[in-house]
Amino acid sequence: MNIASSTEQICFLILGSVVILGALGVVLLKNIVYSAFLLGGVFMGVAGLYLLLNASFVAAAQVLVYVGAVNVLILFAIMLVNKKEELKQIKGLRTRKVLSGLVCTGLLFLLLRVDLTTNWNLPGPSAIGELSTERIGEHLFTDYLLPFEVASVLLLMAMIGAIVLARRDVLNTDIATGDSVDQNLIEKSNDPILLEQSSN
């Protein structure tokens, strides 16, 4: 075994354990802020795995999108609404934990079975390394043009929806009730809109 491949092995082992332990931490830790930061670590680990697979563009995109945007957004949301309040005790919490644990172990065994029964040694296309950026661009603008555009329209819809929800003051009437909406956004009372409808 030469130096390059053994370095690759060691890197893979480290990255793999970072991803698995980090993901376990995201699910199992009580402190939601730790979970969010660990999620960032998991995303970084996955980016490292992409790098090992010679997909440097995908790795950088993973860091930019998942760590730089998604994870920062999650952290923002947590920190802006971080109230120190005790969560209500849910009935039968232990049974729920046992059940979800069972489902997860079942899924794990299913995946392990798939892993062991599949023949992984298929001759796939050879890695093109640095050329992959151009290749991705070509695919996005030829045979994957429609999915690409549909995804962008979907994101645009989500964005407009979010803006409408966040800025109800720009609309004169509320969409749900038809009542005129209070212009004073900050002083607005926090009554749920849909509750009035159901009481009528």
Binding site: F37, S56, F57, V67, N71, V72, M79
Partner: protein, 372 residues
């Protein structure tokens, strides 16, 4: 294509001459450029701190540091030494782990970004294909470190500072990336080497600043915002937030923030010079001058000479930009947070989008001048 100096090849050949296998000589070579770039980044910071003190003093009609070395050149060393021996305080109610991890997460991406900064044809650590995109991706990690330290300090000023820093950094990343994209479109490559080579065919006349004047201004504004320099130093606005996310930090952890922000400033200036000012290029092509003097560009002596000129040119351009940043610090008032976000989202973003579209149109119309 002129390959210029290739130190790695000569180093490997030298070691193989002593009977060492190529793998081992490669491993011996790997740490050398990294150490060199790390130390040059640190020296760059020392010079910048000295410049900042001296130029600030001149802008305020003071003398500035004077007694530590000639003209106070040792003052940054003294600053660093002071921070090094200071007591490392972790506030009692702070979250110790995140508190320690925050400054490290801020510093590491900045240092990693030096991977792609070229000082010459082969004078960079790694000519990775994704080049400038790597820098954009890495600089998006920084807000997490800022949020982490803001949260872990358990202090309302720190939390507000951290959130402001993250918001600022996210908003200005988009126009920054779009203006980089316009340059990338012209040079058909993400690699910093190709971007510089594309600019250096006709000396200073072919620098990107003439073809991308709007992009240059947008990039510079956004780079200042990303470095949290005045007029955009809201995260640490001392009148409002004490010192923002740095409030609870002391000693070496504070020094890491300090180091990170100055390395980032030098890095941004370097990248402006790479993207818009022709990188290591001399205002007149070195090949023309060599031909004029009757020298062959490929002879070793001329190559060493052009390589040194390249490094000197990069450093001169960079420090001119750093000087400009320091002057801006003392001549512009700080913007408010709503003005900052308005400027980013309602002004810079549309303009950079139009700039990108315009560049694409020009590239189709005049493929000779805009890299067809």
């Amino acid at each position: 294509m002129n390959t210029g100096l290739d130190l790695e090849l000569s180093f490997n050949n030298l070691l193989q001459g002593f009977g060492i296998s190529s793998e081992i000589s490669h491993i011996l070579w790997l740490p050398l450029p990294m150490l060199l770039v790390l130390s040059s980044a640190l020296i760059g910071v020392l010079v910048t701190v000295w410049l900042e003190r001296k130029v600030s003093a001149a802008a305020q009609q003071r003398i500035g540091p004077e007694y530590a070395g000639a003209l106070g050149v040792l003052q940054p060393m003294a600053d660093g030494l002071k921070l090094l021996v200071k007591e490392d305080v972790i506030p009692a109610k702070a979250d110790g782990l995140l508190f320690t991890l925050g400054p490290i997460l801020v510093l590491i991406p900045v240092i990693l970004s030096w991977l792609i900064v070229p000082f010459g044809q082969n004078l960079l650590i790694s000519n990775v294909g994704i080049g400038i995109f790597l820098w954009i991706a890495l600089s998006s990690i920084q807000p997490i470190g800022l949020l982490m330290s803001g949260y872990a300090s358990n202090n309302k000023y720190s939390l507000l500072g951290g959130l402001r820093a993250a918001a600022q950094s996210i908003s200005y990343e988009i126009p920054l990336a779009l203006s980089v994209l316009a340059v990338v479109m012209m040079s058909n490559s993400l690699s910093t080497i190709d971007i510089v080579n594309q600019q250096n065919s006709f000396g200073f006349l072919s620098w990107n600043i003439w073809r991308q004047p709007v992009g240059f201004v947008i990039f510079w504004i956004c780079a200042l915002a990303e470095c949290e320099r005045l007029p955009f130093d809201l995260p640490e606005a001392e009148e409002e937030l004490v010192a923002g996310y740095q409030t609870e930090y002391a000693g070496m952890k504070f020094a890491l923030f300090y180091l990170g922000s100055y390395i980032n400033l030098v890095l941004s200036a370097l990248l402006v010079s790479v993207l818009y000012l022709g990188g290591w290029g001399f205002p007149f092509p070195v090949e023309w001058i060599a031909n004029l003097l009757g020298q062959n560009v490929d002879t070793p002596l001329v190559q060493v000479f052009t390589g040194s000129i390249g490094i000197v040119m990069t450093i001169i351009k960079t420090y001119l930009l750093v000087f400009l940043a320091i002057l801006l610090r003392w001549t512009t008032p700080r913007v408010r947070i709503d003005q900052l976000l308005d400027l980013g989202w309602k002004f810079l973003l549309p303009i950079s989008l139009v700039n990108l579209l315009f560049t694409a149109a020009l590239k189709l119309a005049f493929p000779i001048a805009f890299g067809g």
